[in-house]
């Protein structure tokens, strides 16, 4: 038990010092000094409750994903049937009840239609995304499989996370955290950001840009009543535009979506000084746009953003250059936001804010200062009590305690963990509880000495007998820290991390390190009696 060969001593010191050194950059930082940039600098991140900042939890609605997929499928089917040779005529298309259903005018086309549709039912993965069934020999019904919807949600969330990250990067804020959480959520944390309004305006904008032909056959009275002609839909004007309050009818299909963009720029129109957004299509989008404008010269088309009409200008001439200008009564800020949103791509699914937290900066700085003071007083009190009670053995426990705190901080920096406000409480608990191992051991040594064991035997028995209870006690602590870790993110998670790592480092320093210290002293001094 008390035998420490050189290699063991060296490796224990190496582990201790390495982990402790990792704490240095964080300590230098807290002291308000600069850590030399040339050196590696793992840092403990401060949580939002300490650094101040904004936290947003965004959630996507699964129903939106379903509706979007259904619409895409309808467009695909229509196109397939139209392009088939000979053309397959379909009618009575409906998307009610989350299913796409349509009738073939000629029942004999059923096998051809199936043959065309079925390859599109399988996505990029092996998951079967759609079910096809034939009703009455003439009607085809396509329904979404649960697996297909889940796959689509998963894909949509992955790309939504990416889009959100690109948008926030454009804001230029430092060290934002953007992570997917669970199936339909994204956590956004931006330290130091006090007013999350700009952030929310940017992240909350779906930025789904569409160009759709205006349905000139729709009767104004019907539009007012909200009744769209077959194949069209009613879209309201965006607030703030000249047409605000009214709506127009546009053709549902055959438009262009703004996903084929290579760039978007907020600009000022030199003619009238209005804020506008200039967009540039890629080759494919440019070709589509050219085709649409060429075929419809003289007719109006609507520029629709997130389901609201920005404007509906006439197509005066074919637009062939792949560039277009969008006007929509923008302010300089809103045109800039839209440009960023368009550049970073549309969100594949609208996101709603379900949780939002803002922490002021003064509170955080105050908390750190008060937390450090309390930690300092607490540590001194614990150290004084330990030395007064156990003398030399108390000093060993104190050295172990200092290394424990350093190692805990160092490992947190190494793992890139976040120190939260409750995490400070976790540090204090760790300081108070870490010496428990030493108390158990030292009390046991006292007992064994009182029973008349010789020094070496008493120390050995003390460490051996106490280890069992220390092991059990710390393992149950680990279990409850794990239960704490269930709370996905945020301050409580920070608390769990401190407790968890603290339990491991405290067993290492409190048991293993002190044993090495005690063994070294016993070997050198060979005392006949010890004061404990």
């Amino acid at each position: 038990m008390l035998d420490f060969p050189l290699w063991k001593k060296l490796s224990l010191w190496a582990i201790t010092l390495a982990a402790s050194l990792l704490a240095l950059p964080s300590l230098v930082n807290v002291a308000g000094l600069d850590w030399p940039e040339a050196l590696p600098s793992p840092q403990v991140n401060l949580g939002l409750d300490l650094a101040g900042g904004s936290h947003l939890l965004l959630e996507a609605k699964a129903t939106d994903v379903r509706a979007q997929r259904l619409e895409n499928m309808e467009e695909t089917v229509r196109q397939l049937m139209r392009n088939a040779s000979p053309r397959i005529r379909i009618g009575d298309v409906s998307t009610a009840g989350g299913e796409l259903s349509f009738i073939l005018e000629n029942a004999a086309d059923i096998d051809r239609a199936r043959g065309l549709i079925e390859p599109t039912m399988q996505g990029a993965t092996t998951v079967r995304e759609w079910e096809l069934r034939v009703v009455d020999g003439q009607r085809i019904v396509l329904s979404q499989t649960e697996a297909g919807v889940n796959q689509a949600i998963d894909d949509a969330m992955d790309s939504a996370t990416e889009v959100v990250r690109r948008r926030i990067d454009e804001l230029g804020t430092r060290e934002p955290t953007i992570i997917r959480q669970g199936e339909t959520r994204i956590v956004v944390q931006v330290p130091g950001l006090q007013d999350p309004e700009a952030l929310k305006a940017l992240v909350g904008q779906t930025a789904q840009l569409e160009f759709k032909l205006v349905d000139l056959d729709a009767l104004p009275t019907n539009i007012q009543a909200g009744i769209a002609p077959p194949g069209s839909e009613i879209v309201p004007y965006a607030p703030g535009t000249p047409g605000a309050g009214s709506a127009i009818a546009v053709k549902r299909l055959g438009g262009i979506r703004g996903e084929n963009l290579t760039g978007a720029q907020a600009e000022r129109d030199p003619q009238n000084g209005q804020s506008v957004v200039t967009i540039a299509f890629d080759a494919q989008g440019g070709a589509k746009f050219a085709k649409l404008t060429t075929e419809n010269v003289g007719r109006p088309f609507a520029i629709i953003l997130d389901g609201q009409v920005l404007s509906a200008p006439n197509i005066n001439e074919p637009i062939l250059g792949g560039r277009a200008q969008i006007a929509g009564s923008f302010t300089p800020e809103s045109s800039n936001n839209l440009a960023i949103a368009l550049r970073s791509g549309a969100l594949p699914v609208p996101l709603a804010v379900v949780e939002e937290r803002t922490v002021g900066p003064d509170l955080g700085a105050d908390s750190i200062r008060k937390g450090l003071i309390a930690m300092g007083i607490g540590s001194l009190a614990v150290i004084a009590l330990m030395i007064a009670t156990y003398g030399r053995f108390g000093i060993y426990a104190t050295v172990a305690l200092v290394f424990n705190v350093l190692m805990l901080l160092g490992l947190m920096a190494l793992g890139g963990f976040t120190l939260s406000l409750p995490g400070i409480a976790g540090f204090v608990i760790t300081i108070g509880a870490a010496v428990d191992a030493n108390v158990l051991i030292n009390e046991r040594i006292r007992e064994e000495r009182a029973r008349g064991r010789r020094v070496i035997a008493a120390v050995e028995t003390g460490y051996k007998e106490a280890s069992r209870a220390i092991f059990d006690a710390n393992l149950t602590n680990l279990i409850s820290a794990l239960a704490l870790g269930m709370f996905g993110s945020g301050p409580v998670r920070g608390f769990a991390v401190v407790l968890f790592i603290g339990i491991i480092t405290s067993v290492f320093t409190g048991v293993t390190l002190t044993r090495m210290f005690v063994a070294g002293w016993l070997r050198k001094a060979r005392p006949n009696d010890i004061t404990i």
Binding site: A352, S367, K370, G432, S480, F487, F495
Partner: protein, 325 residues
Amino acid sequence: MKLLKLVPDNTNIQFLKLRVPFFLLSLVLILGSWIAVGVNGLAFGVDFAGGQEVRMTFTQQTVAPIPSLREKIAGLGYGEPVVQEFGAPNQVSIRVKLPDDAAAAPDAAKAIGERVIATVRADHVDARVDGNDTVSGKVAGEFRNQAILALLAAMAAVSVYIWVRFEWQFGVGAMFALVHDVSITLGLFALTQWEFSLQIVAAILAIIGYSLNDTIVVYDRIRENLKKFRKMEMGALLDLSVNETLARTVMTSLTLFIALIPLLLFGPPSLFGMVAAITVGLFVGTYSSVYMAGPLLIWMGVTTNSFVPTETALDKQEKLAKGQG
């Protein structure tokens, strides 16, 4: 050098003599806590209740004008606001319910927060905004479920662990001690109406861990003594075990206590509730490992003969050893 001895050597306090009255007292405290929770309810913070919560510090005042704030904010027409002290006497948290449609329009929730802030600032220019949180009803409900699940899972898991490492009676004893500790902490929050947030749940989980430390140390000694003193009467054996570990129990509780006290007195005010919960849990947990976890072993029929290895038990041990190897 003369060292400090908080507990004299060889104490022989007959703790277990008073086990019936103390156990009854514990039962009364547990029941009382449940009644307090049932009658008063817990003062859920925004984490669990959902809504819009604004936290403010009145930098130029020692005590926040809570009644007048309550009246002012009630006048805004968002229903009865919850205005309570938060950490320090000059800090408040103000929570208002969100209208149902605000969940769909987050800007509406934010606007409500801004109106609350503007209303307070109109009368108190020194009011500093420390936080402004929106938690939708759905997310709050999830936090509630997670909290209950985490508490139950932790209690069950550590009890099973003790059952595996010791015997089933010890597992049940530990479970009762934990129910005792958690109930009384909840009772405290029901009585004081301190804000009950995610932090407090974290504190309770920490209590579960540390209260169990005491129980394990006492149990470990009981197990050791059960093997050593085969002829001893059970009550005396428990007393001996508690007395032998008394110095350690006092010392450990004391070190954690003196580490926590500065945090309670000088620490960040917003940690007050959490640290208070842990401090109370520390005492309750120490008490329960002596008066709940111990006597229950007697009543569950643990005797010095209970764990004499019988033939079947030996077989079991052998199997375990093989399984581990």
